[in-house]
Structures are given as C-alpha cells and as structure tokens.
C-alpha cells in the first residue's frame, strides 16, 4: 500500500499545529518563574555528579554491535514471516538453516562470555 501524500501532509500539519498550539498557549498563560535550580540538569530528582562527557565502557560497543547483527537477522525474518504460511515446509527448512547458523553465533558469543557484563 502506498501512503497517499495528501494524508501525510495533513497528518504532519495537524501534528505540528497540535503540539505547537499547546506549547504556545501554555507559554502565554502559564505563570513562569526562573531560578538557578530549575535550570539544572534533571536527573531523577537527585543532584547530578560530574559531567556527562566521560568515556563509556567498551562493553557498550560490543553489545551495540551484537544488537545490530541480530537486528539484521530480525529484518530478514519479516518478509519470511509474511510468506511462511503459503510456502509451507520449504520456507520452514530455509529459515531453520538460517537461524541454526546464527544460533551458532549466539552460542559462540555466550561461550566467549561476550554476553556477560564486565
């Protein structure tokens, strides 16, 4: 299905108007006060410690890259899932091989302690 552009434009304009009008109205009618504490960074109500610009642990990167790889896998599951019922057994076998090989990857990650947070 191709989304009609007219609907999209109406959708965007009404979205902008709805959000913009809310902000504009509250800007004019809400009482406003400025103080030093209010302009601080909000961190769940507790005072922040240090700067947010610090070096992340390398573990995040490993998780991000593993996430990306398995996301690619999931993307290929979508078109398969759409035609699975019609194609029957052959589609099932094909996806089984696909998932089996990638399951090996998951097993490798598990065995190498890549899934453990250190």
């Amino acid at each position: 299905m191709v989304m009609s552009s007219e609907n999209l434009v109406i959708y965007f304009i009404s979205g902008i108007v709805l959000v913009g009008a809310g902000i504009l109205v509250s800007h004019f009618f809400a009482p406003s006060s400025e103080n030093l504490q209010k302009s601080e960074t909000f961190e769940c109500g507790i005072p922040t410690r240090g700067t947010s610009w610090f070096q992340f642990k390398v573990g995040y990167y490993l998780f991000a890259i593993l996430f990306l790889i398995f996301e690619v896998e999931v993307v290929f599951l979508f078109p398969w899932a759409v035609v699975m019922k019609e194609s029957g057994t052959s589609a099932f076998i094909e996806i089984f091989i696909f998932l089996f090989i990638l399951g090996g990857g998951l097993l490798y990650a598990w065995k190498k302690n890549a899934l453990r947070w250190e």
């Binding site: 299905m1 191709v2 989304m3 009609s4 552009s5 007219e6 999209l8 434009v9 700067t51 947010s52 610009w53 610090f54 070096q55 992340f56 390398v58 573990g59 995040y60 990167y61 490993l62 991000a64 890259i65 593993l66 996430f67 990306l68 790889i69 996301e71 690619v72 896998e73 999931v74 993307v75 290929f76 979508f78 078109p79 398969w80 899932a81 759409v82 035609v83 194609s87 052959s90 589609a91 094909e94 996806i95 091989i97 696909f98 998932l99 090989i101 990638l102 090996g104 990857g105 998951l106 490798y108 990650a109 190498k112 890549a114 250190e118």
Partner: protein, 167 residues
Amino acid sequence: MNQVVFYFLSAVILVFSLLTVTSSRILRAAVYLLFVLIATAGIYFLLGYNFLAGVQLTLYAGGIIVLIIFAIMLTGSAGEKLERPSLNKFLLAILISLIGTVTSLILFFAYHSFPVIGNEIPATVKMVGASLINPGDNGYVLPFELISVLLLAAIVGAIVIAKKATR
C-alpha cells in the same frame, strides 16, 4: 502533493547533510546524520518501498546511529569542540566538491533525456519474502542463507576484536 513531500524531504536531507559535515561537535553531527537517514526512509516510503523504508529506519536510523554514538562516546573526547579546519583545507574541500558537482552537472546535461520511469512494480513485503525463499529462478535463497554465514562471521569478528581490546 507528492512533489511537495519530496521537496520537503529533500530539503531536510540537504540541510542536515550540510549540518552533519560542518558541525564542530561530533555528537551533534551523529544526531544530524540520524535526521538525514530518517528523511531518506521517508523518500523510500514515498516511492512505495515500504520494506526498504522499514529496513532503513530499523537498521540505519536505529542500529548504525546507536553504534556511531557508542563509538564516539568510547573515545572520551566526545564533548570537545573540534577546531576549525585551516583555510587551506577548507579551500581544498570546496575545490574537490566543486569538481564533483561540475562533473555530475556536465554528465547530467550531456544526457539530459533521463526517462522518468514510474514505479510500476510495487515491491511489497510479500514479494520480497517470496523471492527471498524461492529456490528456483529469480529466487534468492542461496544469498539468503549466505547472509547468515556473513552475520556469523561478523559476530565472531566483533567478539574477537572487542575481547582483545578489553584484555
């Protein structure tokens, strides 16, 4: 109306691409790149390539940008402002992009009878799926299975490199 949306998306892509390469804060550049990728997905939607648009949103806007941001945050100097490039570099960059632009324009006007081909074959998710698991002609079942081997290699490679880095 399609044209309005197209020009809007193109404007978004152009503006944010420029901001990506000119921003002096690298994390902001990554976020500008996110907007570029989202607008590109919008163009795919406009063409009716819903699956491609979904892939663009989940993998590029969702996955790659997260990866880029983590890579930036790993360096520890993410918050620092980059110094302005020297005038020589600036002029050289302008010269190179001008050469590229002029070459494309010359090619464009030399063969200006680019036929506009309408999107006659709708590429639905169903069609993508059907050709993905089709073992016969016009089927892509072997590449489909090879992708899993490629992804496996990517997993192993990523783990080997990352484990070496932490040790």
